[in-house]
Symmetry: D2
Subunit: 411 residues, 4 copies
Amino acid sequence: MAASKKDELIKKMASGELSLHKADEVADPNDAVEIRRMAVEKKTNTSLKNIGATEMDFASIKDKNAENVIGMITVPVGVVGPLKINGAFATGEVYVPMATTEGALIASVGRGIKALNMSGGATVRVIKDGMTRGPVFKFNSILEIEKFLEWLPKNFDRIKFTADKTTQHGRLERIVPYVTGNNVFLRFTYKTGDAMGMNMATVATEAGCSYIEENFKDAKLVAVSGNMCSDKKQSLINSIEGRGKTVVAEALIKEETLKGVFNTSAQAVNEVNFRKNWAGSARAGSSTQFNAHFANTVAAIFAATGQDPAQVVESSGGYTWSELRGRDLYLSVTLTSLEIGTVGGGTGLPTQKESLSIMNVHGSGSPPGSNATKFAEIIAAAVMAGELNLLAALSTRELGKAHQKLGRSKS
Amino acid sequence: MAASKKDELIKKMASGELSLHKADEVADPNDAVEIRRMAVEKKTNTSLKNIGATEMDFASIKDKNAENVIGMITVPVGVVGPLKINGAFATGEVYVPMATTEGALIASVGRGIKALNMSGGATVRVIKDGMTRGPVFKFNSILEIEKFLEWLPKNFDRIKFTADKTTQHGRLERIVPYVTGNNVFLRFTYKTGDAMGMNMATVATEAGCSYIEENFKDAKLVAVSGNMCSDKKQSLINSIEGRGKTVVAEALIKEETLKGVFNTSAQAVNEVNFRKNWAGSARAGSSTQFNAHFANTVAAIFAATGQDPAQVVESSGGYTWSELRGRDLYLSVTLTSLEIGTVGGGTGLPTQKESLSIMNVHGSGSPPGSNATKFAEIIAAAVMAGELNLLAALSTRELGKAHQKLGRSKS
Amino acid sequence: MAASKKDELIKKMASGELSLHKADEVADPNDAVEIRRMAVEKKTNTSLKNIGATEMDFASIKDKNAENVIGMITVPVGVVGPLKINGAFATGEVYVPMATTEGALIASVGRGIKALNMSGGATVRVIKDGMTRGPVFKFNSILEIEKFLEWLPKNFDRIKFTADKTTQHGRLERIVPYVTGNNVFLRFTYKTGDAMGMNMATVATEAGCSYIEENFKDAKLVAVSGNMCSDKKQSLINSIEGRGKTVVAEALIKEETLKGVFNTSAQAVNEVNFRKNWAGSARAGSSTQFNAHFANTVAAIFAATGQDPAQVVESSGGYTWSELRGRDLYLSVTLTSLEIGTVGGGTGLPTQKESLSIMNVHGSGSPPGSNATKFAEIIAAAVMAGELNLLAALSTRELGKAHQKLGRSKS
Amino acid sequence: MAASKKDELIKKMASGELSLHKADEVADPNDAVEIRRMAVEKKTNTSLKNIGATEMDFASIKDKNAENVIGMITVPVGVVGPLKINGAFATGEVYVPMATTEGALIASVGRGIKALNMSGGATVRVIKDGMTRGPVFKFNSILEIEKFLEWLPKNFDRIKFTADKTTQHGRLERIVPYVTGNNVFLRFTYKTGDAMGMNMATVATEAGCSYIEENFKDAKLVAVSGNMCSDKKQSLINSIEGRGKTVVAEALIKEETLKGVFNTSAQAVNEVNFRKNWAGSARAGSSTQFNAHFANTVAAIFAATGQDPAQVVESSGGYTWSELRGRDLYLSVTLTSLEIGTVGGGTGLPTQKESLSIMNVHGSGSPPGSNATKFAEIIAAAVMAGELNLLAALSTRELGKAHQKLGRSKS
């Protein structure tokens, strides 16, 4: 686009004549990004040169990952590892990328990994898998609901047929009804292969809901998401039933490792775990997160790999369990609702794709779903490393010190 | 560093002789990043050129934002606005940056803003503010705890003096004790100016705890964080008492706006809100999030501005309330625990700093705390825009369609 | 027993020589009661003549309903009704007995019934039914748990065979596993006919657990109740999955009834319902009870009919939903976990049996289970009456007045 | 009343001409009870002779404890003890009355007491005390709420003056506001002496609310109870802040006692406690009840002493904490929200009064409040006995056996 034309459009936008998203109609994706950025600079009297300093081809993002784009945010990414892991799909040694701006976090997981490796590594299994969408219907009366509860299982196959038609990889597994007054929430659960699957589940559920409305006259769809999903919200139903992957990682940490790496003991770590993660979370009413900081590790890996950061909310739900085995420590983490994919969403962006490739989990796996499962195993192992390190650090009172040492000035 | 020296270090690292973090001891920050990245490429047989394609000076990050760094992750950032806002600090029109890889999200908030603006904009107030840390102590007996509960308020001033000494900007406001058996959780609450304040609260609380241990002999600190904080975990105590900022935004959406922008009505939106956000969240046991998708908007603004993404967990807690006022819709969002800062953490990174500057909230405000408060007001208004748009879209059944239209292939 | 012998035993007991429960070994049940009561009178220098003023034959209670008995507590019982009800089993008009010492409660439900009757009565359906027991097992490793999760469904029939053998009326319906670290909770669900069924479920589950331990070597039973039941504790799993009966009652209350009986309007009642029962319960973290006072009505009917008062805890869980239908009010209550029986427990005691007979639900129904289902329908209808009255009373600000009028002196 | 007159009234009532509560207008209290009972017998074709077999003078109940009374329900009451207790008010040995129809419960607590006594008894303290009422107000806008939050503390003294005037014993201690959208919940907390205090709190709060409405024009009372109380509902706010009495009991159970009384060990009991009461309650989403069966003991003492059985719901909330001290077991129970009184409610009924007198806690204490505090200490100690026994029984797998032995036929 000619510079003069560009200038004209920037002026129009800055004056309000051209709205932000209209740039895409009058300019190609890369020009549109520049026009918007310069208009915003003008309006807000700022320089956004770092946001603009990118080689990204914005045509690859348009209509896919973001709108009204003005450039790129950059976030430091580090790696930890190699982490020894004994999963069903992830085996051997793996490096784990973590993107964060919070000092000490990567080092913290790294030290945990060191201790895990000395203990033979992490054993991990995904024990449940399914993406959910929970529409809400309203009915005229409980008498109609009574009939509907009979109708539903008899018509499951037809609803499934209708839903599955909308997607190549998604497969509806079951629908469970929950009644509150004249509202019926239906929790649709899907297998979604290597995709996180929220969007395919939404589209398929919309189709299923249409079938229901057309064939059960008193059922009126209120919303295709009725919060029984529960997407981007923590909930006990997610904890209890699982959403995405339910994963358990475990390790036996030797007395000498606890002493050597952390200068602590099994008993001290175990005590912190119960008084903090169980008594403390219970006392606080933190009803789905009996853990120390699953969220930190999950968020950093999500940021590195193009996962949805809003899903850190429920993906950080779960339990840290420990027990003394002689003078060693048996440790395990259970992530109830880890929502991840290796295709779709932000996984195809240039840097995110590279992060996934470090773990050899980018794209569709063979068999389908195996990449996402492997990725889940790696995350759970890394989460356990983060738990181990923090619990050990707390037991020796070095938390604040760690933050201070890693460059925090007197704040 | 000479290329040959670099090659040698890369080989050493790839062979396991040199661990990832040791690179910082033998090379300058920028070389260390390159060495690590190339070693990981070698070990994992990958190309990480996009992660490496950055002009970042890694010396500015070292010991501050990340460890074991290999480069930068890039995430698209878009802007929405201008958003009309009537806050105590944010007034007039503002553009809001959002970084995301999830298509449709930015457009969704943008459309909500359009409707809010037509309704006179968002009215917002921060009604509570304080960062917390909740250590856990153990005691020998309830008889000692009984004495401690008397001792504590009498010694608050001394504990405060000790804690406040560790920080320039933090001020301890109060300590509330919670007893479970022989565990006593103390919730320390601080004013932290424009910083999110978690680290200063940790350091100050460690000092406070030391004072307590030295002066009340039966009190034994188990962990400086006992999960009563609750940091990076959702909890009812955060909902009930607030953590970070508690913010309320509201607007009156006119009948014609609902019709014109969304082709819906106040009654339809209100119905979705109650059946989904209230009945649905209750049914799911989503006990701190009676909302549709606070997390989406919060996560995207956090990613753009260098906030801690793990704190999306509790920062997305809150309530969407609506009521019919004639044929118009009164809408409000209450974010109970919005944890943000305009200094510290990732706010100083090049692109994140620019995002904050778009809203004119980078750095320390005058008076101190005013930038963070203004930022909180803007986030709450944007969150309300996101809620309005999603509830309206659900009421007209266009959710899946929206995702499909924005470039999702048949997934 | 000779009076002198009795005196001797009383003295022995008062002196501590004879413990309370040993009386049953040396005296017949009625004498034992007297001996204990007189010994306690002596020791505590009290007169317990009212507790002793009973015609009860204590032989019928011994080894069945209570131990160390000294007499009977008497509680006033009133009746409300006739209540018009349209259930699957309860139809027509029914009187409902309520035992309580809290003034105004019975009158409150009575007034609600008046309004329900004017609206055609209550429509009620039990939509789910099953008693649960949730043992906890521990395993050595997640690898064993992985195998166990495959083993369990394959061996369900054998476990069921073993469990069902222990009971005439109980039938094991399903077992659902929930994993937390190396703990596996198994939720056994039973049909229990007209019995509440907790004891038969316990005995049957013990048998099932023994089968599991014997046939899956790594599974070690920790406790036959692992709190996933959840008995006598509120829990989201009870809300989500139901325990005992899940019942919904509904009615359409006419504008003129609301005006005539309560001097209120549909809108006023609806507003109280949402601001109190939904916003209020959410704000308080009352995560299983989005209602006003289910517990009051449930407790009073339980007390009258020999149900377990500790189960009021979860039996009072549920939702009060309302909506405006023109100027009328659609109201419904959903009790998620109503745990009741018409045989067993306290249902066979003289006065409790009579209370059940008032509703024609004493003993085993034909078909089995029909009496308990009918009883559940009646309770739900009465609970709705109590909700309607309280919400209406709150909407016109007469709560405190009601209590004051009904004989409360200035307290 | 003449028999013929009585017969006439019975017929009228049976025919529906005379409603149940109208009997009180045409007959004295005792005749009214008889008329109602006989009318119900006639209508339902039942015999209610046991309900009628009472010497109660119903004039003492009328307008005070129940309405539409037809007689008395009788419930067996047993005693356990003597229990050694070291409280602030309860010291020495005490017998505890429990009314129940559930076999094995009294024996269970009795055995627990035996073990506690061998360990030196229970040490108990009430650490918090206050009855609450939580009205909900609505406002036009958050701007008005902002002003109100400033206004409220400045006007506390006047509101307190108005509230306290309505009661002799109640004293308003504080009001805490909680905002959700345009709703403001105010949690009023009172000292209520020896009364449970719910009614005095309601009346006083109504007065306080009237003052607020009159003096802050935008505040509109929606309901004097907005569920933030939370009365007869479990809630995290009750757990976190306490309601009624917060009590902690503790004991050190010796290895030999655990072996001698229960044939178990500290380690076995501790393991059951953590896997069941902590992992299990967490897994089930039983967010306020990390205990085994507080509800059982609480309900039975409540039934014996005229407490409100609907308040078992929150009075059974709390935590069972244990730890190994060498080979002994440190055990404690924390009841967060024990709502009890020794005056008012059902405490003045003949048998209930006698139950209270057994513990020497009937009526007003000196100083005021001391009887209720003493009573709370006794309940907590008994609850701990019940926990100890059940955990020990589970650890040796004798739960079902216990029920079977105590007279349960094959059910």
